[in-house]
Point group: C2
Chain length 358, copies 2
Amino acid sequence: MAHSDDRKPAHSSDAPITIAVDAMGGYHSPGEVVSAVARLSKYEPPARPVYFSLVGDEAELTEILLSTSHNPERIHICHAPTSIGMGEPAKTATADKPDSSIAEACRLCADGLADAVVTAGNPGAAVLTAVHTFQRLPGVHRAALASVYPTPRERGEKQDPFSLLLDVGASLRADARDLVTFALMGSAYAQIVSANERPRVALLSNSRENTLGTESVREAYEKLRDDERVHFYGNIEGHDIPRGLVDVIVCEGFVGDVTIKILEGVSEAAFELARSAYREKMAWKLGLKLLSGGLNRIKQLTDFEEYGGAPLLGIDRVMIVAHPHSESRAIENAIKLAIKNVRAELPRVIARALAEKE
Amino acid sequence: MAHSDDRKPAHSSDAPITIAVDAMGGYHSPGEVVSAVARLSKYEPPARPVYFSLVGDEAELTEILLSTSHNPERIHICHAPTSIGMGEPAKTATADKPDSSIAEACRLCADGLADAVVTAGNPGAAVLTAVHTFQRLPGVHRAALASVYPTPRERGEKQDPFSLLLDVGASLRADARDLVTFALMGSAYAQIVSANERPRVALLSNSRENTLGTESVREAYEKLRDDERVHFYGNIEGHDIPRGLVDVIVCEGFVGDVTIKILEGVSEAAFELARSAYREKMAWKLGLKLLSGGLNRIKQLTDFEEYGGAPLLGIDRVMIVAHPHSESRAIENAIKLAIKNVRAELPRVIARALAEKE
């Protein structure tokens, strides 16, 4: 690797950063992934230089890079002979392909040759590989994928229009202890990404009252109510999510996966409706044109490409799982998020939050 | 009861119908409930007359009725000395208040003095009371609340813009056997409400592939795939819900509760955004005016008041659980849905669907 000699310890604030990018992951790989990395390689400011390890089929990646404007000083191709497809069952694929692009990317990171992993590939396989390759932080029983989602901008002191939802699918179920860990990790992460000093954290349930929910939610509620490390709001219900009532929402992975995908789907459906209205009527056409400022604001608030990807919290490395449908701009934002999290020393911050006394 | 002498067996197609309405249930009770019943008492066509039992505080209801135009021949007040508040814990409230308005309404129905129950009250207490008062249909281990939700209108043969989601919270968890029962009941109900002969039924999961989901979903998938009684589509994910990909979506109650409330909340948030845009800019103001036809279409598609309430499926009576925030129009639609389900002999249809050989 071109820069391997001048690498400094990761905690040094001006050490170069290396991002291992799974070039074969996602529906638009490797083309859109390479194009994102190529662009970033050219425009990165030099204060703390960023290098990229593009992990995947060397011949294919070399060929694409040849026809793409990039800075060769900052991109290194790391060969991985196989890759895991989007439709492949995560467990068997991970076991059968120890030399896949996502496995190699995680290995680079575990070996200290990269500071973070970014992938838009099979999310199940990505999480499974990460959990097998990296160490869980002390006290973490389950890692959690944390996804930001847009809400109507708050008028008060908080200017950030995003809320954080976790777990969105690193695992399926979570017991009370897991939910408490998610709350602590989510709170620490929100402090980093939203510069929100005391984020409000809530449990997602079927009722504000804590008598009707699942056993794990009821038990986690009791623990969090008395936990001074978290600014605990209580339970919220589904309709509170789009309202942006709290900063961090905690739930088990199955529910979080369904939730985040509904929010994506609603956004798509609304724009499909707007498009079909646009085709139908002249008056609507004009109306939409006049409204375009407002619609763009909604679009910006509902567009997953804007906010990159979901960090996997609870492991000792930085890993961003981007949306499988990510195109170049989304990959670029996922990589930027990875860089931000490396700079903020995310695993260390999370570990510190978990180590605090109750 | 004024009409008790001319009641005929419920299965006679021109027998009068009696709806027991919990007048004390919901945030806008009893005023909005009484006003809905009063209006319906005047305009109901006489072919198969409909009577109403208003269940609640007799003095209060009598006073409201005195100042409300209604047909006294069709409304009978049935006194219930207590009622269960929205915030009360369902279990203890149900046990402590055996003479609540919802308990009395269910009792009227169990005793054959009413054909259906409609309530906008505490949903947990309503379901618990119903399950204790009515019989479960043969083969039903858990009853399910089924909620319709609007989707972009399909262009194909199906003209109905609604999909059905169940369970939305009659219970929290569901095993594979429950999910299969929900699929059969939902399919039968969709045939009634949407005149859809062969509704497409799907399981809500975290992946189209059936390898990653919860144990109960994976097992239900295997059963439904080989079950000729259901037109089984397979698994769908959260983003498929707003798209209206299938006609009936099956999930456990906790997930269904979160899902249906997110859909409500998104609709509210979108209109809040539109309203604030309206205040802000003249150009947007004009744009919204020109768009009003399109916005009304969206509003109609996302407005729970239009489609009344959720039937509780799997019991031997008709019960509609309306939204706790229901105002008069929503209550009216919930009562109309109850009448429709009585006419269609819903419990009999569901029982027949469950009794069919696989």
